[in-house]
């Protein structure tokens, strides 16, 4: 092979390599959704933890329907149980499509300790409406392994299964309001940390619905106090 031909071949290989690298880089950087979330991703962490969170809402809501005849509470509980069971199914299916295990790869809430897309850590990404957390703290709002916000304890659930009528309604409303607030916090946390359109759409729906249901349940609770 002559020297000039060798040069030509080398130049061609280098050009092809540069085109490949630039192409792959542009493709990856310009379309984040093209990258399927991995097992340690924010999206997978949210999908696993929120399934557990929703499953408890279903459990509580099915439970209160057995403890009261009140049509208003039974309707709200039916709405929440069916909606959240359906949403849990969506998140289950995402994990399947992403090809990652349903089982957590990290302690609960780890994804919420990751920096937001803006580079912030703390969980005040939604206008800092929450309770003051000691001034301008930069510490993460949660630590890995924390229980999820708003989850009811085993004792609360046991008690709910023993109460009847308006007492059961009141406890369920209290538990469910706190549960929804925690759910909204988790949905806002994922909104601040993902560009995945499906995840963003479901999170936005959760925030809208659960905020409005919190207001409705607060009225219902006031009427029963």
């Amino acid at each position: 092979m002559t020297a000039s031909r060798l040069r030509l071949v080398i130049a061609a290989v280098l050009t092809a390599a540069v085109v490949l690298v630039v192409g792959v880089a542009i493709g990856r950087l310009s379309s984040p959704t093209a990258v399927v979330p991995g097992t340690d991703s924010v999206e997978a962490g949210f999908s696993r933890d929120m399934q557990v969170h929703h499953e408890q809402a279903v459990e509580m809501s099915m439970l209160v329907r057995d403890r009261t005849d009140d049509p208003e509470v039974r309707t709200m509980a039916y709405d929440i149980a069916t909606a959240q069971a359906q949403q849990a199914g969506q998140m289950f299916a995402w994990l399947q499509v992403w090809g990652v295990p349903q089982a957590p790869s990290e302690p609960t809430m780890t994804w919420m300790t990751r920096p937001t897309l803006d580079g912030d850590f703390a969980g005040h990404e939604h206008g800092a409406t929450g309770e003051p957390s000691g001034g301008a703290s930069t510490a993460p709002a949660h630590v890995p392994g924390d229980p999820m916000p708003g989850l009811a304890g085993a004792d609360d659930l046991r008690l709910l299964g023993q109460l009847d009528g308006v007492e059961a309604e009141r406890l369920w409303l209290e538990l469910m309001i706190a549960h929804h607030r925690g759910g909204v916090e988790m949905a806002e946390a994922v909104e601040a940390r993902t560009r995945d359109r499906e995840v963003l759409a479901l999170a936005a729906g959760m925030i809208t619905t659960q905020d409005s249901e919190i207001a409705a349940m607060e009225d219902m609770l006031a009427e029963r106090s």
Partner: protein
């Protein structure tokens, strides 16, 4: 490439017969110079080609590394289907009918099959639970940790309870098992002697709420409690 000027012969033509003439000497020097120049040129050319080739190879190698990094640097993935659980046994063609009364299961503890209409609430139990209700949990994607109380220590029981996932799992004693401990999912079972056996964690990662089960994610609450429920 200026060459130092050679001193001119001061007496041209002298000493002609004894040695090479001045002209011959001059020709020889010129030939020598030319040969040296050609050697120099050939060497320079060779070096240039080698240099370009080396740079090319190095460049391709660097670019190859960059491409490899960009392509593989995405989030780590762990496809459950690609997880090999060392020592796991799997079972196909399990039926899933709702039946009344007891069922004679082929495996001990059972790994699926016909079961009771009502499922058992997931959680930790201090007493043996009915097979027929626990199998309904397996159908819903739960994993079931069992231990033979005669073959394990209190510490191992505590460790097993700590290892079990918070939801979609049952932990219960199962007297008369062949091995100290076992973990079962719908159509899969792993027996083990030590809680920290890495195959146990692999089993949970692969089979917890797995689509191997007919109805993963169906309720593991709102059913009945077995005897001795602790949590």
């Amino acid at each position: 490439m200026a060459e130092p000027r050679r001193p001119r012969p001061t007496t041209p033509g002298t000493g002609g017969a004894q040695g090479p003439t001045v002209k011959q000497q001059r020709d020889a020097r010129r030939q020598e110079k030319l040969a040296a120049l050609k050697r120099e040129q050939a060497r320079a050319k060779r070096n240039r080609v080698l240099g370009i080739a080396a740079a090319g190879v190095a460049g391709v190698a660097v670019l190859g590394l960059v491409v490899t990094y960009v392509v593989t640097s995405g989030e780590p993935r762990q496809d459950p289907a690609s997880i090999d659980v060392a020592g796991v046994q799997t079972f196909d063609d399990l039926t899933a009918n709702h039946v009344a009364g007891t069922v004679d299961y082929e495996q001990t503890p059972p790994v699926g099959g016909d079961h009771a209409a009502i499922w058992m609430n997931c959680g930790v139990y201090s007493e043996p639970v009915p097979d027929e209700n626990a199998v309904h949990d397996l159908e819903h994607g739960a994993v079931w940790f069992t231990y033979d109380p005669d073959q394990v220590s209190e510490q191992q029981i505590d460790d097993l309870r700590a290892l079990a996932p918070d939801t979609y799992s049952v932990v219960s004693p199962y007297p008369g098992m062949e091995t100290p401990m076992a973990v079962s999912a719908w159509g899969a079972q792993l027996t083990f002697d030590e809680v920290d056996d890495p195959a146990v964690a692999d089993f949970v990662t692969k089979y917890w709420k797995s689509t191997n089960a007919p109805e993963p994610g169906a309720a593991c609450t709102g059913g009945i409690d077995g005897p001795g429920r602790l949590s």
